[in-house]
Symmetry: C2
Subunit: 133 residues, 2 copies
């Protein structure tokens, strides 16, 4: 694992740390200031622009129930951009969501430009043609 991957995983962890801690300032600091940002929460429409994205985090952080942990994060470097795929769930429980987090190089680190999380299969056993889980 090279230094880019290490920094990228660290940025991805910081995102979930801010998420779990309902740390709005920490969350705000992780998102790019140089690029437009976008976000697709599970079952929501696509949000575009820093105001809409940060308003969504404020709304989520107001809820009583934010228990989240990311597992099995995998980095995918694309030059000055990158994406991380990881799984999301309550700490210690099986993951229920899978996420794509897109980053860009900014100020010597990696800043978020996009997050999409969606449901994993919940059925007990997927069909052979659908290799979910």
């Amino acid at each position: 694992m090279n230094e880019d991957d290490v920094r990228l995983l660290s940025a991805n962890e910081a995102f979930y740390d801010a998420f779990a801690a309902r740390d709005l300032a920490g969350m705000d600091a992780l998102w790019s200031r140089e690029r437009p940002v976008t976000c697709i929460h599970p079952g929501w429409n696509a949000l575009s622009g820093r105001d809409a994205v940060m308003a969504s985090w404020r709304a989520i952080f107001r809820s009583d129930d934010v228990h989240i942990e990311a597992t099995d994060a995998r980095t995918h470097l694309l030059g000055d951009a990158a994406y991380v795929i990881c799984f999301e769930g309550s700490p210690g429980a099986a993951p229920v969501l899978v996420a794509t987090n897109v980053f860009v190089r900014e100020d010597g680190g990696w800043s978020l430009v996009h997050h999409q999380a969606g449901q994993l299969a919940r059925s007990p056993a997927p069909a052979a043609s659908k290799p979910a889980n």
Copy 2:
């Protein structure tokens, strides 16, 4: 809209054309040969690697019911990478999914490295704190 955006939208359209036509060779040609590829179909687990991703398209194309159209595609350029957000649904119907498609520059064009599609909200009216739809 600059030439990068035009080519990116064209690559995104080619993806949905191959999808709708169940064109396996066309689909295969759209995915990067220089980078590892990944794919998250709605409700599936994350697929990693060309073999797994192309096997998923073969499985999907074997089903009887592939009616798909992409609408409202928006490009997001990140240097030599880019992502497109668009909505997916049956032609002429309201979209039911929202997708993130990640591309890299390759051979003078844009090649897919990642696709994630997930459900849009299906409830009649979202809560005020959740600006879905």
